[in-house]
Amino acid sequence: MVPWEWPARLVRLLASLLPPCPVRAVLDLPCPSCGTTRAIILLLEGRCGDAFLMNPLVIGGGVLFLGYLIAGWAVYVRTGQFPEPRWTPGRLSILRWAIGVAVVVNWAWLYARGV
């Protein structure tokens, strides 16, 4: 086993110990974050495209957030201030709508893909 296979195998092992998704078990429907664990395993195996298709919202959002963290730390090291957006009431309203739409679209994607 090569060293970079360890994280994927560890996550697979941990995932095998978890209970099944209760939403899927009861309703036979995916929950909004179904596929996240499988997507993370695919990401650790280097299959980025498959990981994104497994759950676009979580993987895409996670990549964007990690990018923000890395860029933010670079700015923090240089200036001593971590950059944060100013959330006016208008921007918060747009954020709420954007997240709502993204969750619904992603959920429909998961259902259509049979994740």
Partner: protein
């Protein structure tokens, strides 16, 4: 104004005592614009202590589970024992890397919590303030040294401290903070979240029932 730990006038032990016994007073003193370095240092120490506690009790528990195997096989199935022994070592190593997992959890979990705080109109003081609450919530690290129930008690107490920290530092209401903390588990229903959610529900119920009686209210 800054907390005594953040301006270096109070040691680690005194700060842990304060956070565990009067969290609201502690978080009220924090300057949310101050650099986060001291909070990260506090969390690294706390997670390291928690990791040592977990490593010890994981090793003891796993070793006790192996004793019947050794007794039954009388030293003959060396392969199975080697695998079991490797599992014990792996658990110990993972526990000792707790500062790494803990910091990752504080920043990544803080991002999810902060997103929901924004959605519920409670994240006024920014993402780093949310992370700071998570970092100081690790003060329960010493409780992991208690056998059997230490980890469970520490998890619930961490939840309470984090909720108090978020409420005080973001100057929001307990209701909005509770909604932001529990919403990801309720809405997303991730398999991992189910296990975490059970702990959160227990902690939330404990927090709610204790809030009227706590000294800061």
């Amino acid at each position: 104004m800054s907390s005594a730990w953040e301006n270096g006038t109070e040691g680690y032990v005194g700060t842990v005592k304060r956070i565990l016994t009067e969290p609201a007073g502690f978080f009220r003193e924090i300057d949310t614009d101050a650099p986060i370095g001291r909070a990260v240092l506090f969390a690294v120490i706390s997670f390291a202590i928690a990791g040592v506690g977990q490593a010890i009790w994981n090793a003891v528990g796993s070793s006790l589970q192996m004793l019947p195997m050794i007794a039954e096989n009388d030293g003959q199935s060396g392969g199975a024992l080697a695998v079991a022994g490797f599992g014990v070592v792996a658990q110990v190593v993972i526990s000792l890397l707790m500062p790494v997992w803990g910091l990752m959890g504080a920043f990544i979990g803080g991002g999810i919590t902060h997103l929901f705080l924004l959605l519920f109109g409670a994240g006024q003081k920014g993402y780093m303030t949310t992370v700071r609450a998570n970092l100081y919530g690790s003060a329960t690290g010493v409780i992991y040294l208690v056998p059997c129930c230490g980890a469970l008690v520490a998890s619930i107490w961490t939840l309470v401290i984090t909720i108090v920290g978020l409420t005080e530092m973001h100057q929001s209401t307990t209701g909005r903070v509770l909604a932001a903390v529990f919403a990801p588990v309720v809405l997303c229903c991730v398999c991992i979240g189910l296990s975490v959610g059970i702990a959160f529900l227990l902690g939330g119920a404990a927090a709610f029932s204790q809030l009227p009686h706590m000294p800061w209210r």
